[in-house]
Every structure is written in C-alpha cells, then in structure tokens.
C-alpha cells in the first residue's frame, strides 16, 4: 500500500499533543478532505452562484459567449405582467391555505421549539408572500408576461398538494399494517417496496399502457364492472390525478420504510404498560403510536414535499405537460425555456426561484437532521 503520509516517524512512548502532532493532523485531515471538497464546490456550490449570475443575463444557448446584462428583467418577466392590480379576493383559497402554515410555527414558538426571532421571521415572510404579494394579478385587459411560468408553478404546487397527503397517509397506513413480525410479512414488505427501484422511464412505460383505455389493465377493469374505459392521460381534469396515483405506486415504499423505522423506535414496553393498565388498541394508538411517530411524520412530509416539487420525468414522458398544459410543471418549463427556446438566462432565473422555494422546505429537514445529535 503506497501511503500518502508515510513520511511520519513511528511514535514511541507517550503520545504528546504538541505542535508537531496538530500540524500533522491538519495536513492529514485536509488531505483526506480535499478530493471531496473539490467536487463539492465545483459541482454543487459553484453552480448556485453561477445560476444567480446567469439570471441577470440574456443568454442564448447557441451563442453562450455572447451574453448581455439585463439586470432584473428576467425576474420581471417571470413575476410581473401588464395592467397589474392588487385585490384581496385573488386566489383566496390558496392564500388562506398558505396563511395556515403560520399555525404550526406559532405552536412551535409557544412550546419553545422555534426560536422567537426565527418564528417572527417566518411569519412575516409567510404574511408577505400570501397576504400581500399573491394579491397582485393582471387586471382588465392585462396579462402575465409569462403565463406558462405561473401555469407550471401552479401545477407543481397542485401536484405537491395532492401527492403529499396521499403518499404520506398511504405510507403510514401500509407501515402500520406491515409492522408485525414474521417472514411472510417481510415478503409482503418487499413486494410493496419493489416499484421504488424502477427508473422513471420504466414506470412511465408500465403506466402509460396501464392507463391506456384500449390496451391497459385499468381499462379492462372498467369494462369488467360495466363502465366505459376512461382515457386518463388525455383528459385535462384527470391527467394530474393519474400522475399522482402513478407516483404513489412508485414511491410509497420509501415512506413505508421511514415509518417502519419510526414505529420500531417506539419503546415496546409502553404498549405493554398500557395493556396492563387496561388501555385498548385505539387508546394505545392515539396515546403512544401517534406521539411516537411525530418526528418521523414531519420528516416524511418534508421529504415528500421536496421530492414532489422536483416532479418532472413522469409528466415529461407520459403527457409532455398536456393535455392543454394541465400537467406542465416547473422543471419542464425551465427545461424547455433553456433547451427548446434556448434562453439559458431566463431558465437560470427560474431555477433560482425554484431553488429558493425548495430550500425553504429542505431547511426544515436539515434542522431535523441536526437535532438528531
């Protein structure tokens, strides 16, 4: 074994933590870290800065050397429109739903889990976005500069809103059902998890045909119970729900694994004690299982939200964003702005926006991860 640090002499006697030792430690540590840090900064950190900078330029994919600084024009194009007005009623349901996010933060502040300064910051941020900014919209005869941006972002949020409760809830139910000893249950766990290892293009291959009214099993099922088969993927009202169900089948196993790990961490003696005290199954569930799974549930929800925001492959392959833009999502809009319309600058600005939205959620996961220690 050739050794990078073979220059050091064998130590004899007591290990002294002198200057030599710490200098050697520094050299060794940075040597071990260097390869990782290089790729880390080059391919993870630098691109973020690059995206921010590119977002201020007009940058054509075909002539990437020819860039024009245009300030905030890309952002203006994204967020603004003509004849903009503000009113309270615009998108009221979404804004109320957004404002409801304040409740868990306020609760966290009361219980002391969220710091005062931090809580106030979050609350003013949420109020600013949902109460104030979302009131703006194009007025009479006005239109968004890029209505596709809002359409695709709205669809992405819709997908997150539909898929998160469904995939998390179903994952929890499955985990509760599968949380029992025995080899056979292990086999069942394997079966439920298996779709997770498929790639997105295998998933779409299977489900595009599954949902095909003439060729697929779903159509066959409809016929068997005497219904006319429905063409899910070409129906604007049904395409997104169909994508959600496809995604549920694909990824629910991941949540099941996390919930099973969470269930396993609950002290079994608690159940025995409750049993001795005469508590029934329902009482044990609400008093032991539910609080015991709190942290896991929060983690799963956050991970699901992050994963759902990144939705792309399913719709890109199965519907191309159709029918009529009903399943067009943010990453697809960024992808097509960059590679079909060749506008890398504008695509970068949208990346920055999506980045910020997603970081807000992964920050929660990050806190959970760190609170571990």
């Amino acid at each position: 074994m050739t050794s990078l640090y073979s220059g050091r002499k064998p130590r004899t006697g007591k290990v002294s933590l002198g200057k030599v030792e710490s200098r050697e430690n520094n050299r060794a540590a940075w040597g071990f870290l260097l390869p990782f840090l290089l790729v880390y900064f080059a391919f993870l950190i630098y691109p973020i800065g690059q995206a921010v900078v590119m977002g201020f330029y007009d940058l054509d994919l075909l002539v990437i050397t020819d860039r024009v600084f245009i300030g905030f024009d890309n952002y203006f194009r994204m967020f603004w429109g003509s004849n903009m007005v503000w009113d309270l009623a615009s998108m009221l349901e979404w804004r109320i739903a957004g404002m409801l996010l304040i409740v868990p933060i306020a609760l966290g502040m009361r219980s002391g889990r969220v710091a005062k300064v931090e809580g106030v910051l979050y609350i003013s941020l949420l109020t600013g976005i949902f109460a104030l900014l979302m009131g703006f919209h194009p007025g009479l005869d006005g239109r968004w500069n890029d209505s596709q941006f809002w359409l695709s972002f709205g669809n992405t949020v819709l997908f997150v809103a539909l898929s998160t409760p469904l995939i998390v809830g179903f994952g929890l139910l499955l985990a509760l059902a599968l949380h029992r000893p025995g080899k056979w249950v292990g086999v069942l766990r394997t079966l439920f998890f298996a779709p997770y290892v498929l790639s997105v293009s295998v998933l779409t291959l299977i489900w595009a045909f599954m949902l095909n009214p003439q060729l697929g099993l779903v159509g066959e099922l409809f016929r068997a119970i005497g219904l006319e088969p429905v063409s899910f993927l070409t129906n604007p009202a049904l395409a997104m729900p169909a994508i959600v169900v496809t995604t549920l089948w694909w990824t629910v196993g991941f949540n099941v694994v996390l919930f099973l790990a969470g269930l396993q961490d609950i002290d079994k003696n608690l159940y025995e004690a409750a049993n001795l005290d005469g508590a029934g199954a329902v009482k044990s569930f609400t008093n032991i299982t539910v609080p015991g799974l709190q942290r896991t549930t929060l983690l799963v929800v956050v991970l699901q939200v992050i994963a759902s925001f990144q939705i792309f492959g399913q719709v890109f392959i199965m519907t191309r964003g159709g029918p009529n833009g009903a399943t067009r999502v943010s990453i697809q809009h960024i992808y097509e702005s960059g590679f079909r319309d060749l506008e890398l600058g504008y695509a970068s600005a949208m990346s920055v926006f999506l980045f910020l939205v997603m970081v807000a959620f992964s920050a929660i996961q990050f806190r959970l991860l760190r609170s571990e220690k």
Partner: protein, 296 residues
C-alpha cells in the same frame, strides 16, 4: 431475502395447532390474507410488464390485457440483447453507475474519516458548510451545470454524467456518523505501531465501515441508475444515452402498437439489474434510506 425481517425484534408467537383457532389468531390470519392479496394486486403492473415482454408481438396487437404470457416467446428479450442501441445504453448505465458509486464511496469515506477521527483546524467551519449542502436541491440546478460542462465542452461523455453526481454531502454525513461511532482503541493501537493515517483508513476504517458503505453504496447505485434529468440534459447523442433516458426516448415514437412486446422487453432489461440488486441488498438499502434521510 425478506425486507428487514430483523427490523422487528418482537419474538414470533408460537403457533400451536390449538392456538390457531383462537379468535385473535383467526383475525390475524385473515388480515395477513388480505394484505397478501393487496400486495399481489400492488405488483400486478410489474407482472404485466414481464408477461408482455415474453408474449409474441403479433398476438399483442389484438390482446394485451392478459396477465399470463400469450404465445410465449423469448425472442423479444433476445432481440434486445443482440446488439443495437439498447445494449449500448445498458453498458453506459453500467459504467456510469458503477464508477459514480465507487468514487462516491471513497470520497465520502475519506471526508467522513477526517471529520470523525482527526482533530484539525477549521473543522468547525467546514463541517457545517458540507452539511449545508444537504439542502441544495440539485434538480433545480441543471441549467448552470449544463452551461459549465458546455463551456468545458465535455457533454456527451462519461465524465459529464459522473462528475455532478459524486459531490454527495449525504454520503459524507452518513460516513461521518458511522466512523465517529467506531471504537478508538483499534486505531490508537495501529498508530502506536506506526501505521500512517492512509494505512489506517484503508486497512481499519474502511473494513469496519462495511455496513455503512454497503448501505450508502446500494442507495447511490439506485439513485444514479435511475437519474433522469441530468443524463437527459447532458447526453444528447443517442449512443451516449443511459438506459433510463434511452428507454424514455423510445416511448412516444416507438412503433408502440406493433412492437409492444419488444418495448416491454426493453423495460424488463432496464429494470432487471436493479430488481436483482434490490433482492440481494434490500436490508442495506432500507438502512441506507432511514439513516440517509434523517431517520435512525
């Protein structure tokens, strides 16, 4: 071979013949039967793909909804493996995924070793900085990455497919956690014997980290194999597609109605390596998922 039967430590009830007829047992057996049916329905779509892949293309033009193969044939599968682009894509995926996984493991373990075992100047700054990388949603950053590789003119290459993937703060996090828990005395003994850090890392820390390495490895392997957006953006020449992007390119413009069996055979070929890996390493994968995402 079963998914984490060890995850549950509760002892199994001894089921004597008599106890089989207690109401509780019956209820439990009924529930298991119900779960079994549900699980079978759950994997029907997968079974269907396998079944279509070994059915004759001609027959599939009139009948596609059978769960058993119609006019059984392995011609479709043989056709896929007899050269052509699909084999090339499979090879690309194999090279890219294996190299990515290998390099990720070594880089993560090296960094993890430094963070977990060596006191050094700057650790308090660098470690949180690396952890912060966990928050970066890389799917949102493909445009600047694309530009970076375009400027270096290395798109449509294995390097371009591999490099962005090996910057994995999650791997460093997992390896740091794991190596910090390895008892110090073995390493101390080796150091007293004069072993260098490099030797200790390869001869002691790496073998002792085997559980964490396999968990991280299988997780990385699956994510890389299934990566879609970056290969789609970077590898635009047909012969540089991975099996994942290649299979996607066939959907929509393939002569779907006439060669459904062949198409499904490609799906089988694309998923079989991972399904087999999954059956072998599912315990490790499950552990990788739960430690990697902040569970336990």
């Amino acid at each position: 071979m079963t998914l984490e039967s060890s995850i549950l430590e509760a002892p199994r009830a001894k089921s004597g013949f008599k106890s089989l007829f207690r109401p509780r047992k019956i209820r439990s057996a009924l529930f298991l039967a119900f779960l079994t049916v549900a699980a079978l329905v759950w994997i029907l779509p997968l079974v269907w793909m396998f079944s279509l892949s070994v059915s004759a293309n001609e027959t599939l033009q009139s009948q596609t909804t059978s769960l058993l193969p119609v006019d059984f044939t392995i011609d479709n599968l043989l056709g896929v493996m007899q050269g052509g682009l699909t084999t090339r894509w499979l090879f690309n995926s194999l090279v890219v995924t294996s190299l990515t996984t290998g390099i990720t493991l070594v880089l993560s373990a090296m960094a993890g070793y430094a963070f977990a075992r060596i006191p050094f100047y700057g650790k308090k700054v660098v470690f949180p900085l690396v952890l912060a990388g966990l928050m970066v949603p890389r799917e949102a950053m493909f445009i600047p990455l694309f530009l970076m590789f375009a400027e270096a003119d290395i798109h449509n290459s294995y390097e371009a497919l591999i490099l962005p993937r090996i910057a994995a703060p999650l791997g460093v996090f997992i390896m740091t956690q794991f190596m910090a828990a390895i008892p110090a005395d073995i390493e101390e003994a080796a150091r007293v014997d004069g072993a260098s850090r490099w030797v200790i890392f390869w001869r002691i820390m790496m073998p002792m980290s085997f559980p964490a390495l396999t968990a991280l490895g299988i997780f990385t392997y699956i994510l890389t194999w299934n990566d879609f957006l970056w290969p789609l953006v970077s590898a635009t020449q047909r012969d540089m597609f991975t099996i994942t992007t290649g299979l996607a390119s066939l959907q929509g413009n393939f002569a779907q109605a006439t060669e459904l069996g062949s198409l499904m055979a490609r799906g089988v070929v694309a998923s079989l390596p991972l399904l087999i890996l999954f059956l072998i390493f599912q315990k490790q994968l499950v552990r990788g998922i739960s430690i990697g995402s902040g569970g336990k």
